[in-house]
Structure formats: structure tokens, C-alpha cells
């Protein structure tokens, strides 16, 4: 692999994906993906469903395994490492410790239903980092205030709207002080009137300089917030660049078609 020869020294790359390939039996869903994300950068991944964008994102914190290529987060290998020239899976401990630095927000929120909002946000710091309760509580309350959910700290997730749950899920991921946040179609399951409140939180995060990789269908968010837009289709990166350039002047028919279908939807 020629990528292996390239220096991994670019220290401002928080996430570096090189030659990522993955198949489900005979179906290849990722056909060699190269994406790097710099500190403070907001990268929005666009693409039709089935383009492999969510799978790619889930590889970054190793919720999905992959067949070829490398992913590093702050220079640390994700999932596999080379030992004497052979590719070996890293230990469960290493995976867990790496994931502490990668925040993830899911389409279906995945809050812990048996814990209150506050306990959900405290879960990471207390149970993973071993922080003491009072300190974790302070951090959690600050984050809940930031996402506008401090008034529901003692509620159980089941009582919240989808938008509220998703904002709590963002706070829960932030509580680990991750170096990068992954957003996996986080507004797709929401009623249209609740999308705005979640996007607002994400926009604020971006403005604060959080490094983010966002898989979404929200064209407005891509155009307004992204530093870079990556268009994926059929398991490859088709186009990438600053949104004002590539979204106004797409170079490929595939991206042009995608944009016209989606922008016409939004009116």
C-alpha cells in the first residue's frame, strides 16, 4: 500500500482516513476512501443513501470493522495496527480508550432510558474516566445549559421530544471532551419542526472551534456551517471542497444531480 509510505506526521490532522475499504460478503460498500480532517475543521459528508457515508463514519470510532486501509485519530491507529508487517486488531482496551476521544451522536439518539438526563451526561466522566460525582455533575450541568436542557436534568429520556433527546445526546458526547465529534444523520429521525433546535446547537459547536464530521441531508447546514463538503457516492469520494465552490459549481454529473434533487426538496 502506497499510503503506508506517506508520513503520518501532519500534526494538525485530527482524523486521517487512508485507503479505507470495506465489504459485506460480496458487496463492497467502501472502495478506497481518503479523507483527512484538521483541527477545528467542520467536514460535512453528503451523499445518497447507500453511498457508504454512515458506514465510513462508523469506522472512525470502530463501531464497524474494515478490511483495508488505515484510520488514525490524533495519530493513534483505529481498530488495527501493524505488528511485524501484519495487520492485527487492537485490543478491546485500546478501542475503548480511543473512543474516549471520539464523540458520537446517533440518528436514534440512543440515550440510556433507565437513567435521567443528568445521569446520561455524567455516565461517561464518572463510569469511564472515574471522575468524582460532584465534579462530573458541574460539567454535566454546564453542558446541559449549553444545549438548553438544564431544566430537564432530572427527567427521564422517554419523557422528552426527539429534538430534546438529541440535544442531550450531544451533551453526553461532549462530556468526554472529545477531540472530534461524529454526527450520524442526527436530524433524520426528527419531526421537521424539531430539526432547527438541534442544528442550532451544532452550529454553535462549530463556531466554538469543535472538530466535527457530520453526515447529513441538511443542505442548508452544509452550505452555512461546513468548512469542507465531501460528496460520496457508490463507496467513493466523488468531489470535495469548500461548500461555496462545489455546491454552486459541481464538477460531476452525480453531484449536480444529487444537489438538484435535494435543493428542490428544500425549496
Amino acid at each position: 500500500m502506497n499510503q503506508a509510505a506517506a508520513p503520518i506526521s501532519q500534526s494538525d490532522d485530527i482524523v486521517a482516513i487512508r485507503g479505507l475499504r470495506k465489504s459485506y460478503s460480496t458487496l463492497e460498500v467502501l472502495k478506497g476512501i481518503d479523507i483527512s480532517v484538521k483541527r477545528g475543521e467542520v467536514v460535512v459528508i453528503l451523499g445518497p443513501s447507500g453511498s457508504g457515508k454512515s458506514t465510513m463514519l462508523r469506522c472512525v470510532n470502530f463501531l464497524e470493522n474494515f478490511d483495508q486501509g488505515t484510520i488514525t485519530v490524533e495519530g493513534r491507529p483505529v481498530g488495527y495496527k501493524m505488528v511485524n508487517g501484519t495487520r492485527r486488531p487492537v485490543s478491546e482496551v485500546d478501542n475503548a480508550s480511543l473512543r474516549q476521544h471520539v464523540g458520537m451522536v446517533f440518528q436514534s439518539y440512543n440515550l440510556f432510558p433507565h437513567r435521567t438526563v443528568l445521569q446520561n451526561v455524567m455516565m461517561g466522566p464518572v463510569k469511564v474516566k472515574g471522575m468524582d460525582n460532584s465534579k462530573a455533575r458541574d460539567i454535566a450541568m454546564k453542558l446541559l445549559a449549553k444545549v438548553g436542557m438544564e431544566h430537564k436534568a432530572d427527567a427521564y429520556p422517554g419523557r422528552l421530544s426527539g429534538g430534546q433527546q438529541q440535544r442531550v445526546a450531544i451533551a453526553r458526547a461532549l462530556a468526554m471532551e472529545p477531540s472530534v465529534m461524529l454526527f450520524d444523520e442526527v436530524t433524520s429521525a426528527l419531526d421537521p419542526e424539531l430539526v432547527g433546535e438541534v442544528l442550532k446547537v451544532m452550529r454553535e459547536l462549530a463556531e466554538e472551534g469543535m472538530t466535527m464530521i457530520v453526515v447529513t441531508h441538511e443542505m442548508g447546514f452544509a452550505r452555512g456551517v461546513a468548512d469542507r463538503v465531501v460528496f460520496m457516492d457508490g463507496g467513493v469520494v466523488v468531489e470535495q471542497g469548500p461548500p461555496e465552490e462545489i455546491m454552486t459549481n459541481p464538477q460531476t454529473d452525480r453531484f449536480r444531480g444529487f444537489l438538484s434533487r435535494h435543493l428542490s426538496h428544500e425549496g
Binding site: 473512543r99 446517533f106 469511564v128 468526554m176
Partner: protein
């Protein structure tokens, strides 16, 4: 009105005490064993899992009475002298354990994958994830089936009388053999069992209904 039942009631109630004690031991130990095995089946390796699958298949596919006979006759064969009551208790614990293990395994599998993915994303390791996220949710799902299994087990403690362990059903047969008042005694004994079982049966049904509503 029922002279034979009345005069033998104290004796029968004494039997009922043995039934309740046996039930309590079997249900509590069987549940603990079953939950433990169910958890092991969910975290263990392939070999452990297939051993547990075989255990569940065997004990769920064979009548409890046969398991009792096995317990009753094979402990002495191994050189252990146990009384019938203990042999029955051990056999039933292992039997109930298989049912609870199956229910636990199902409940753990029933916790959505999104939950474990969220836990992993926080950097949680397997053991902690099991303790903090999966088990608390699975245990809720397991309460209703465990109540139904307990109900089954309480009624099955009566089979202990067949292998010679003295409890309510054994006492009932003794009284009937002496007095021949089969209707009075057996109907009375059914009533005693009913009183023991009914609260549990109500709880199981209420829970079933509530879970049906939740989903």
C-alpha cells in the same frame, strides 16, 4: 361443614409451610443461577455458549419429574447421602435455572444495539457496559417471564411428593389414604395452593399487560 378437612387442616398447613419454603428456595436460587448463566451465555466464548445452549435444551425438553428422579437417585450413586427434600430442591433449582437462563438470554438480546453502541462510543469496556447499560435494561424485561416461571415452579414443587419429599401434596395423600375423603382434602389443598399462587399470578398478569402497553 367439612369435618375431615377441618380436623386435618393443621397438618395440611404444616405441609403448606414446607411447600412455601421449598418454593422460596427453588425460586430464589433458580433465578440467581439462571440470571448468572444467561449473562454468561451473552458474554462468554463459543464453547461456553454451546455448553449453556445444551444445558437449556436438555432441561427445558425433559419433564421436571424426570429431573427430580435423576437428582433423587444419582446423588446416592455419587456417594452423597441427601434427603429427598434437598435432592428435590437441587434438581428444581437446576431446572428453573434453565428456564430463567433462556429468559435472561432473550432479554439481553432484546436490549437495542443502539444502547451498546452508545456505551461503546463513550469509551466503555465490555464488563462495565454489561453492568451499567445492558443488565439494568434487560432485568426489567426479565421480571415478567421470571414471575411466570416462578408460578410454574411453585406448582411443580408438588411433584416432590412423588419422589418422597414431604410437603403439602404428600401430606394431602397421607390424609386421603387414612380418611378416604378425597374431595374435601384435595379441593381444600387446591385452595391452599391457590392462596399461595394467586398474588404472584396477579402480579405476572399486571406486568404482562404493562409491558404490552409500553411496546
Amino acid at each position: 361443614m367439612f369435618p375431615v378437612l377441618q380436623s386435618n387442616l393443621p397438618y395440611l398447613l404444616q405441609g403448606a409451610v414446607y411447600t412455601v419454603i421449598l418454593s422460596a428456595i427453588v425460586v430464589s436460587c433458580g433465578t440467581a443461577l439462571g440470571v448468572g448463566i444467561g449473562v454468561l451465555a451473552s458474554v462468554g466464548g463459543a464453547i461456553l455458549r454451546s455448553i449453556i445452549t445444551a444445558y437449556i435444551f436438555l432441561f427445558r425438553g425433559v419433564p421436571v419429574l424426570v429431573i427430580m428422579f435423576l437428582g433423587f437417585y444419582s446423588f446416592p450413586a455419587l456417594g452423597l447421602r441427601l434427603d429427598a427434600y434437598t435432592a428435590v430442591a437441587i434438581s428444581m433449582i437446576v431446572y428453573v435455572g434453565a428456564f430463567v437462563a433462556e429468559a435472561t438470554r432473550g432479554a439481553i438480546a432484546g436490549v437495542p444495539t443502539g444502547q451498546t453502541e452508545a456505551a461503546k462510543s463513550l469509551g466503555m469496556r465490555k464488563g462495565k457496559m454489561m453492568r451499567e447499560i445492558v443488565l439494568p435494561q434487560a432485568m426489567r424485561l426479565v421480571i415478567a417471564p421470571v414471575l411466570n416461571i416462578s408460578l410454574m415452579a411453585i406448582k411443580q414443587t408438588s411433584y416432590a411428593s412423588i419422589v418422597g419429599a414431604w410437603e403439602l401434596s404428600f401430606a394431602a395423600r397421607e390424609v386421603v389414604e387414612r380418611t378416604l375423603a378425597a374431595f374435601q382434602i384435595f379441593l381444600g389443598v387446591m385452595l391452599i395452593y391457590f392462596i399461595i399462587c394467586y398474588p404472584l399470578s396477579l402480579a405476572a398478569r399486571a406486568l404482562d399487560k404493562r409491558l404490552a402497553f409500553d411496546s
